[in-house]
């Protein structure tokens, strides 16, 4: 099961603006049933003010495809078409609090549908069903222009990322070389792909040499109980800001030898990730103390302890 943000879930379980928009004067359709996801975006644009007064969608696809469509409509209603054109797939993903990398193509589908709808409103041609030769990925109907846009907007650097964001190359893989060509061309243009510096034959370039990680300080032979407690408290204090950013908190409850009891509060309590958070706290304490300890929830504290 994917780790969707609450915002994605909210827009999936209760999508906003779902359904057909009868008075639409701007319609964009992308994707296909073969691909596994498709989006029909319908907008009602005021011809005088150019403001998008209403927008609705119909989506065939997974949870994040539906959530991306819902988010997109919320983001563009009230904007002029020119303002809306500035909305990128990244904006959609950020609006949702992020999408799993494998699902970024859902946000790209949203951005593409928006462009198609605006083109439709302006009376421009929007070519979604390409001539054979123009397509890079024939399985999913993805052309070079779409790959270029995804690479530029999202600063992609690898073939795998391109597949996650556009689906291109995700099936028969025969287009991998072509995708790499497009990718390299964009990276060369943006300068992201700086050529490696030449170096003497038989040697390794300077850029390949990484400084050695500083050696961990040798742990003192034996901590006093007070020193040990201080180290634990200090380590937990260091962790708290990070956990608080996720809407939760952690407090130290008791130390019993190797067992360290903590309480997770706020968003962390009952969160499906809380086991992960506990593991994170444990890793931090093991690192800080230089000894093996077990972090347990305060609820496991022995009665009468």
């Amino acid at each position: 099961m994917w780790n969707y943000t609450d915002k994605v879930k909210e827009h999936f379980f209760n999508p906003k603006n779902a359904g057909a928009l009868d008075e639409a004067n701007a319609v964009g359709e992308v994707g296909s049933i073969t691909c596994g996801d498709a989006l029909k975006l319908m907008m009602k644009v005021n011809p005088d003010s150019q403001v998008i007064e209403d927008a609705k969608f119909q989506t065939f696809g997974c949870g994040s495809a539906i959530a991306s469509s819902s988010a997109l409509t919320e983001m563009i209603i009230g904007k002029t078409v020119d303002e809306a054109l500035a909305v990128t797939n990244r904006d959609i993903a950020e609006y949702l609090g992020g999408l799993p990398p494998e699902k970024m193509h859902c946000s790209v589908m949203g951005a593409e549908a928006l462009r198609a709808a605006i083109a439709n409103f302006k009376g421009e041609d929007w070519v979604d069903d390409h001539e054979e030769g123009e397509l890079v990925c024939k399985c999913f109907g993805i052309d070079a222009a779409m790959i270029e846009r995804a690479v530029t907007v999202n600063s992609l650097t690898t073939l795998e990322e391109v597949t996650h964001y556009t689906k291109a190359g995700g099936s028969c893989q025969t287009c991998h070389e072509k995708i790499e060509e497009v990718l390299e061309a964009v990276l060369a243009k943006t300068g992201a792909l700086a050529p490696p510096k030449p170096h003497a034959p038989g040697t390794v370039g300077l850029d390949a040499i990484k400084p050695l990680a500083p050696k961990a300080e040798a742990a003192p032979a034996k901590l006093t109980n007070v020193q040990r407690m201080q180290k634990i408290m200090f380590a937990i204090e260091e962790l708290r800001p990070q956990i608080q950013r996720d809407g939760g908190d952690v407090e130290l409850v008791d130390i019993d030898g190797k067992d360290i009891y903590v309480r997770l509060t706020g968003a962390c309590s009952g969160c499906s990730q809380s086991a992960g958070t506990m593991m994170g706290v444990q890793a931090k304490l093991v690192e800080a103390l230089g000894e093996f300890v077990r972090v347990k929830p305060a609820s496991l504290l022995p009665v009468g302890a």
């Binding site: 359709e29 049933i33 596994g36 996801d37 989006l39 119909q58 065939f60 995700g170």
Partner: protein
Amino acid sequence: MTAQGIYLDNNATTRVDPDVLAEMLPLFTEQFGNPSSMHGFGAAVGGKIEWARKQVQALLGAAHDSEIVFTSGGTESDNTAILSTLEAYPKKKSIVTSVVEHPAVLALCDYLEKKRGYTVHRIGVDNRGNLDLDAYKAALGPDVAIVSIMWANNETGTIFPIEELAQLAKAAGAVFHTDAVQAVGKIPMTLATSAVDMLSLSGHKLHAPKGIGALYVKRGLRFRPMLRGGHQERSRRAGTENAPGIVGLGAAAQLALMHMTDENTRVKALRDKLEQAILAAVPNCFVTGNPANRLPNTCNVAFEYIEGEAILLLLNEADIAASSGSACTSGSLEPSHVMRAMGVPYTAAHGATRFSLSRETTEEEIDRVIAVVPGIIAKLRSLSPYWSQAGAPKEFAPVYS
């Protein structure tokens, strides 16, 4: 079970039976010896392993307990069977398998084809998931080292005619292996009188834990180990025995044999009830695979015009766990290779949803699933552009209905 929701994803994995766990626990703390050790600690464990071997032998209807080799699971068993045979018959350069195998077989065959120069014949299936017998017979020849065909398909439950396939393979001089990970424990087997040479099974599909499985190797078959090292498992699988897992598998095998009738009567009836209720309440859906010949616990329904992951998310919200062959759940981008191999149209392949029951499934649970599924499907279809465009297509599903 209800406290944690309704679990209908037993073809993915099953809950460890509490009786299985109870058998295993002493192996961690009290009977922890290494069975290879020459002392009492080891001997106690060795005895339990041999007990477990006999239970697996009984479940498979094998002639000898020495034909059971414990492994880490289905994937290791599949890989061992194929690699062992290729090594034992180095002059034969062909493999026969099917297009609907589990990746544990398919990915290995792809590798052997690409990197080691083997010829792989992948036999196709019809739109019901039945193997193309003519193509199978045509592929068998003197160059075939091994045939590896699954006993039952994990996605649809469709059962292949294993005995017939095995006999044809034997007649052509090939070793016959079957990946029976989904079939073992669900349908009766008598390997003693069968032409099957090797069979893979996996513990966690039958209420034993993950990380334990077995490979049946018929007595007298040429065998080359994949893991080399110590002399464990009669030198056929090196590595210190996973004693708790093995004992768990033994207990699970014993329980599976005990519940075999229940699986094929009560569980099967629940499956049929679920399926018929869904087909009656939901338009434009159909059962994939061969309904007349499949595992008693499995049903796979393809819902047109919607996508599987979205179905699973809504089911999950209703505390129901199922599975989907859709691309979006797996991180790959294509719908399941099984759906594609059967030629299920894309309009429905993306919406294929698998419900797999177990002996723990209750009638109340099935009733609850029946109550919520139609609403979930209707909700997603109201969002789908194809559903409204099609206007709830009336002329539906001639091939599959």
